[in-house]
């Protein structure tokens, strides 16, 4: 969603293309070629000699062909950056995708539950209340120490939760949507970070992020656009590396098994490729957190600018703001402006100020 709008920024397209797609593809094809040659049992030195003995025109054609393959694959990688991002977010339509989605979602729902200190405190308070009643109504002196011990345990647990509250809140803010959106949890960490940024404007200001972002983008200052484009570029780069490394591990693994290559080479390529993919994905998580933070910053700081662009007066109270955004969204979706709206002429205001 946000990414499509960001694509309009073409100022640093060339650099982004080279860094995020061309060079990774060049290295990918180069390594694939080297492993292909070694795994196939060909001697690289002899191949080089054979290549040297070729006609100049043939050599030129081969180089052009290689560059064409690299440029083509780099273009595909670059143009598919949104789909790659969606894949890592957890929007899967491949066979078994639903099963994987379920497993991942269940895990992250558990993680989110652990971060929901408020609910845990509520459950604990109920337990403590119950235990308190049991203690006060207990008639058996033998049972009393046990009940008291249980009560102490609950108090200690409450203390622990209170201590964890801030860190859990912080984690929740960065990595997961609010616990009330637990049904919308994504199966991957990266997906949840971006889902969090998507849900943030709605939770805080009642803003439909998907609808408003493309409009908000036009009132954002250049320095902000530059920062968010850089952050997105870093995210795309990490995901491109993760994708190509994963592909490298898979393709070379299959090829080396077919070619009955040495076991060490198979392990080096298969585990090496997937290890680099894992490291790149971890790096992408950090970049995604920075990207999500910037999106939140955009809504926090510039939403009033958008309201001014609608020629409306920004609301004075938080309740009023939620209502105002509700009305704007109603206008955008349904085409009906509330009768209470009064447009402000910002130019007239400026003139008045200058006259005074």
């Amino acid at each position: 969603m946000f990414s499509e709008v960001l694509k309009e920024v073409t100022g640093i397209f060339d650099r982004r293309f080279l860094l995020n797609a061309f060079f990774p593809c060049l290295i990918f094809w180069g390594l694939l070629g080297v492993v292909g040659v070694i795994g196939g049992g060909w001697e690289p030195l002899k191949l080089l000699q054979a290549w040297n003995q070729q006609d100049g025109i043939l050599k030129a054609l081969e180089i052009i062909g290689l560059i064409a393959i690299v440029v083509f694959s780099a273009s595909v990688l670059f143009n598919q950056s949104n789909n790659i991002l969606r894949f890592y977010e957890g929007y899967w339509s491949f066979p078994l995708g639903r099963q994987f989605f379920r497993i991942g979602k269940a895990h992250h729902q558990t993680c989110l539950k652990e971060l929901d200190i408020k609910s845990q405190m509520q459950i604990l308070a109920e337990k403590m209340q119950q235990k308190g009643v049991e203690l006060s109504t207990n008639q058996e002196p033998k049972k009393k120490p046990f009940l008291q011990e249980e009560m102490n345990g609950l108090v200690a647990q409450e203390k622990r939760l209170q201590q964890q509250q801030f860190t859990s809140q912080e984690k929740n803010y960065r990595y997961y949507p609010q616990p009330r959106h637990s049904d919308e949890v994504m199966p991957t960490r990266l997906g949840n970070i971006l889902k969090n940024s998507e849900k943030y404007p709605g939770d805080r200001y009642n803003i439909d992020a998907v609808l408003v972002w493309s409009r908000l983008y036009h009132v954002l200052p250049n320095r902000y656009i530059l920062i968010i484009t850089e952050v997105r570029s870093a995210l795309d780069f990490a995901l491109a590396i993760a994708t190509l490394s994963g592909l490298f591990g898979f393709i070379t693994g299959v090829w080396l098994l077919i070619a009955k290559a040495p076991g060490w080479l198979y392990l080096l390529c298969f585990w090496g490729g997937t290890l680099v993919a894992g490291v790149a994905y971890q790096s992408a998580i950090g970049n995604a957190a920075a990207y999500a933070e910037q999106i939140k910053v955009g809504f926090d700081l510039y939403r009033h600018e958008l309201i001014k662009q609608f020629r409306l007066q920004p609301a004075q109270k938080p309740d009023g703001e939620a209502k105002q955004w509700q009305e704007i969204q109603q206008l955008l979706y349904g085409g009906q402006a509330p009768s209470t709206w009064i447009y402000i002429d910002p130019d007239a205001k400026k003139e008045e100020a200058s006259n005074d």
Binding site: I103, T110, C111, R189, K260, Y266
Partner: protein, 213 residues
């Protein structure tokens, strides 16, 4: 998600990915190791480095078990096909021997012909080696003719009959002027007692190699 008593185990996709990766990697490695063990072959290899133009004796060879992928497709593995043949390039110790590294198989007559000979290399133009059709193992007659002068319009010629061509090497990999003119080096087995005569006669004279039908 699985619940086991007090343990609340929750498997993330990362765990699944890691686990499947470890399993696939290990299975693939085991498969390749087994394939490798099944694809070993016994090959006769030199027990020492053999310089070019050395007669290989059976004592120069040992039998070794090598992985089939380390044995070139054009290698010669049997002892009978290697011994009593000459090397035409350096053969490294413990490495399989390829056809290109060996001279042609010699008949009894050729073995007799090679007795008491020395190997001498001469530069040959494409026409001298019959446009590339002359091969190692061929027998040729060599005619060395002096340049005709006014004083000696019919100079005498020197002939070396039934000479064995030991090896023909092209200079294509060389970037010198020789390579540019597509010259080759023909290694000839010249009778040892006529070595000096051959050396004297080839300088500044026209040499012609001719093969009999």
């Amino acid at each position: 998600m699985t619940k086991l008593g007090y343990l609340n185990l929750s498997f993330s996709l990362g765990h699944l990915f890691l686990l499947s990766n470890l399993i696939l990697g290990s299975l693939g490695f085991v498969y390749l190791q087994q394939t490798e063990a099944l694809s070993q072959l016994k090959v006769w290899v030199p027990s020492r480095d053999l310089p070019p133009y050395t007669l290989i004796k059976s004592t120069d060879l040992i039998e070794k078990t090598l992985l089939s992928r380390n044995i070139p497709s054009e290698s010669v593995r049997e002892l009978i096909k290697i011994s009593d043949r000459y090397t035409v390039s350096t053969i490294t110790k413990d490495k399989p021997i390829t056809k290109k590294q060996l001279s042609p198989e010699l008949t009894l007559d050729q073995k007799k012909l090679l007795q008491n000979t020395v190997l001498i290399g001469i530069l040959a133009t494409p026409d001298m080696i019959l446009g590339g059709n002359l091969q190692a193992g061929d027998q040729v007659d060599i005619l060395i003719v002096l340049e005709a002068t006014e004083k000696q319009p019919n100079p005498p010629s020197i002939q070396f009959d039934n000479t064995f061509i030991f090896d023909i090497r092209s200079n294509e990999t060389d970037s010198t002027a020789i390579a540019k003119s597509s010259e080759s080096v023909v290694v000839l087995a010249i009778p040892a007692d006529r070595r000096a005569e051959f050396s004297r006669s080839i300088s500044a004279r026209k040499i012609m190699l001719s093969r009999k039908f």
